[in-house]
C-alpha cells in the first residue's frame, strides 16, 4: 500500500482550505492593521470612535447573552423529550429539527410577518380587544420590542442545532448509568443533574461553542426585523464594507468578531473541560 495515498486524498481539501480559509484570514488580519500599505491602528481607532460601535458591540453581546441560555434550556428540554420518547420519536425529532434548514433571513421574515404593523401579533391583540389600532412595534421608539423580536426569531431558528447535538450526545450515554442512579435512590431531577448533565459535557461543549459563534455572527435576522435600527457587529461590518466602502474598518470589525469568538470558545472549553480518562 503506497504510503502517500492518505496524503493524496487529503491534498485537495487541504489546498482548498489553505486558499479559501487560511489565506483570507491572514488577509483580513493584515487589512485591519494597514491603511494605504502602512502599519497602523487607524482602522481600529476609526471603528471604535464611530458612535455606532459601542451600541453594535453591546447589542451583539446582549443578544448572545439572552439567546444562548434560553436556547440551552430549550434544547436540553427538547433533547430529553426526544430521548425519552419511544413512539413518534422520529416525527417529533423531524419537527424540532425543521428550523435547522431555515435560513436566518427566512426566519427574520417569518417573525416580521408576526411583528409588523399589520402582522399577526397586532391582529391577535386587536381581536382580543387589547388594542384599538395596530401598534408600530418595530420602530426606533421601541428598541426593546425589536430586541424581543430578534431574540424570539433567533431562539426559534437556532435552537434546533443544539438540540440535535444534544440528542446525539444523550444517545451515547448508556441507559444503565441512569438506572444505576435510580437504584441508588436518585430522583428524576437528580438523575438529570448528577448523571446526564456531567456525561453530556462534551456535547454541551460542542453545542455551546457552535451556538455562541453563530450568535456573534447574527446578521440577516437583525436586518430583516430591525433594519439599521438595531446595529450588531456583523451588520456594521457589512455597512462599512458596502455603504462606506472602507475595507480597513470592515476588517477591524471582522477581527473584533473573531476575537470575541475565540475568547468565548476558550472560556467554554475551559469551563466544560472533561479529562480524557473521564469520558464515556
Amino acid at each position: 500500500m503506497p504510503r502517500a495515498l492518505p496524503y493524496l486524498l487529503l491534498l485537495p481539501a487541504t489546498l482548498f482550505l489553505v486558499v479559501f480559509f487560511l489565506y483570507p484570514f491572514v488577509n483580513v488580519a493584515w487589512d485591519s492593521v494597514t491603511r494605504g500599505g502602512e502599519m497602523t491602528l487607524a482602522n481600529y481607532q476609526r471603528m471604535a470612535s464611530h458612535w455606532k460601535f459601542p451600541t453594535a458591540f453591546w447589542n451583539t453581546l446582549l443578544l448572545a447573552g439572552i439567546v444562548v441560555p434560553i436556547q440551552l434550556a430549550m434544547a436540553l428540554t427538547m433533547a430529553s423529550i426526544v430521548t425519552k420518547l419511544q413512539k413518534g420519536r422520529s416525527t417529533l425529532l423531524y419537527i424540532f429539527a425543521i428550523p435547522l434548514g431555515i435560513s436566518d433571513l427566512a426566519a427574520g421574515l417569518i417573525w416580521l410577518a408576526i411583528f409588523e404593523q399589520s402582522g399577526f401579533l397586532n391582529s391577535m391583540l386587536y381581536g382580543l380587544g387589547v388594542i384599538e389600532r395596530p401598534i408600530l412595534f418595530l420602530s426606533y421608539q421601541n428598541t426593546w420590542v425589536i430586541l424581543l423580536a430578534i431574540v424570539l426569531a433567533e431562539v426559534w431558528r437556532a435552537t434546533a442545532i443544539m438540540m440535535v447535538i444534544l440528542v446525539a450526545g444523550m444517545g451515547l450515554i448508556p441507559k444503565e448509568y441512569g438506572e444505576a442512579a435510580e437504584v441508588f435512590g436518585a430522583s428524576r431531577w437528580q438523575r438529570f443533574t448528577r448523571v446526564t448533565l456531567p456525561m453530556l459535557k462534551p456535547s454541551l461543549q460542542t453545542a455551546l461553542i457552535l451556538r455562541v459563534i453563530l450568535a456573534f455572527e447574527v446578521f440577516a435576522v437583525v436586518v430583516a426585523l430591525g433594519g439599521t435600527q438595531f446595529p450588531v457587529l456583523m451588520s456594521e461590518t457589512y455597512q462599512w464594507q458596502f455603504t462606506m466602502q472602507d475595507r480597513g474598518v470592515a476588517a477591524a470589525y471582522a477581527m473584533v468578531i473573531l476575537g470575541i469568538s475565540v475568547a468565548f470558545t476558550l472560556v467554554i472549553l475551559r469551563l466544560l473541560h472533561v479529562p480524557k480518562e473521564a469520558r464515556i
Partner: protein, 282 residues
C-alpha cells in the same frame, strides 16, 4: 387483583403519574406549536393576495390566492436569483463532497503523521466566523476575475460546507467495517475497486444526505452572498438587498420560497441528522 384491592390501593402515585404525563404531553404540544406556528403564519401570508397581506386585522387562514407568489416570481430578477441560488448551491455541493469525501475516507482508514494537524485545521474552521472570509475574498476574486460569479460564491460556500462534509463522511466511512473492504481485496479487488463496489454503495445514502446538507448551507447563506454578488444575486442576497424597498407581500413570498425547499431538504436528510451532528462530539 380483586375489586376491593383496587379500591384499597393508594391512588396517589397513579394520579401523580397521570398528571406528570399530562404536563409532558402539554409541553410537547407547546414546543411543536412553537416550531410550526411561525412557519404556518409565513405560508399564510405567502398564500394570500397582496391586499390581504397589508390588510388589518390579518386572518391566520390564508385565502389560497396565488397573486402574491405570482407577483414575486414575476418580479424582475427573482427568477434569475432563484436560478443563481440553485447553481451556486449545486456547485457548492459538488466541491464540498468531491473534496471532502476523499479526506473523510483518508481520516477514517489510515493512521499517518499529520492526521491530527489536518483534523485540527478542519475543526478550527468551525471556531471562526466563516462568512467574514467574503471580505478578503472579494478583493482576491476581483483580481482573478471570479468576482460576481457563480463559481466565486460557490467556492466561499464550499469553505463553509467542506468541514462538515469531511466530518460527516469521516463518520460514515468509519461506520463501514474495514473487514468488508479487506474481504473485497482478498476476493480480487484493487483498492479503488473495493471502494467503488463495496464502500460507496454502503455510504451512498449518507453521502447523498451530506450533499443535500451542503446544498442547504449554500442555499441559506446570506452574508457572503450579499458581499460577493452584485449582478448575479442569489435569492437570499436579492431578498436582503430589497428588504428596504420591496412591499411586504414580496418579502413574504420570498421568505416562503426560501423556506419550502428547506423543509423538504430537512425531511430528506432526517435519518442522517445524527450522523451530521453526532460526530460533533468526537
Amino acid at each position: 387483583m380483586t375489586e376491593a384491592g383496587t379500591q384499597d390501593a393508594p391512588p396517589a402515585p397513579d394520579r401523580v403519574r397521570r398528571s406528570g404525563r399530562w404536563v409532558f404531553v402539554t409541553g410537547v404540544g407547546l414546543l411543536v406549536a412553537w416550531v410550526l406556528v411561525p412557519i404556518w403564519l409565513l405560508l399564510a401570508n405567502a398564500l394570500s393576495a397582496p391586499a390581504e397581506v397589508t390588510a388589518f386585522p390579518r386572518s391566520i387562514i390564508p385565502s389560497f390566492d396565488t397573486a402574491s407568489l405570482e407577483f414575486f416570481f414575476g418580479f424582475r430578477g427573482v427568477l434569475d436569483a432563484l436560478w443563481n441560488s440553485i447553481q451556486v448551491a449545486s456547485v457548492t455541493m459538488i466541491v464540498a463532497i468531491g473534496l471532502g469525501a476523499p479526506a473523510g475516507y483518508a481520516l477514517s482508514r489510515f493512521d499517518f503523521p499529520g492526521k491530527e494537524a489536518f483534523r485540527f485545521l478542519v475543526i478550527m474552521t468551525r471556531a471562526f466566523p466563516l462568512p467574514l472570509l467574503a471580505l478578503p475574498l472579494a478583493v482576491m476574486f476581483i483580481r482573478t476575475g471570479l468576482d460576481d460569479t457563480i463559481l466565486g460564491l460557490a467556492l466561499v460556500h464550499a469553505t463553509l460546507a467542506l468541514p462538515f462534509a469531511v466530518l460527516i463522511t469521516f463518520s460514515l466511512f468509519s461506520g463501514i467495517p474495514v473487514e468488508l473492504e479487506e474481504a473485497a481485496w482478498t476476493l480480487g479487488c484493487t483498492r479503488l475497486q473495493a471502494v467503488i463496489k463495496v464502500v460507496l454503495p454502503l455510504a451512498a445514502p449518507g453521502i447523498a444526505a451530506s450533499a443535500v446538507f451542503a446544498f442547504v448551507i449554500s442555499w441559506n447563506e446570506v452574508f457572503a452572498a450579499a458581499v460577493l454578488t452584485i449582478e448575479n444575486r442569489t435569492l437570499t442576497a436579492f431578498l436582503l438587498q430589497s428588504l428596504d424597498v420591496s412591499p411586504l407581500h414580496l418579502k413574504f413570498a420570498g421568505g416562503a420560497a426560501l423556506v419550502i425547499p428547506a423543509l423538504l431538504f430537512i425531511f430528506a436528510v432526517r435519518k442522517y441528522l445524527f450522523a451530521m451532528w453526532g460526530i460533533a462530539n468526537r
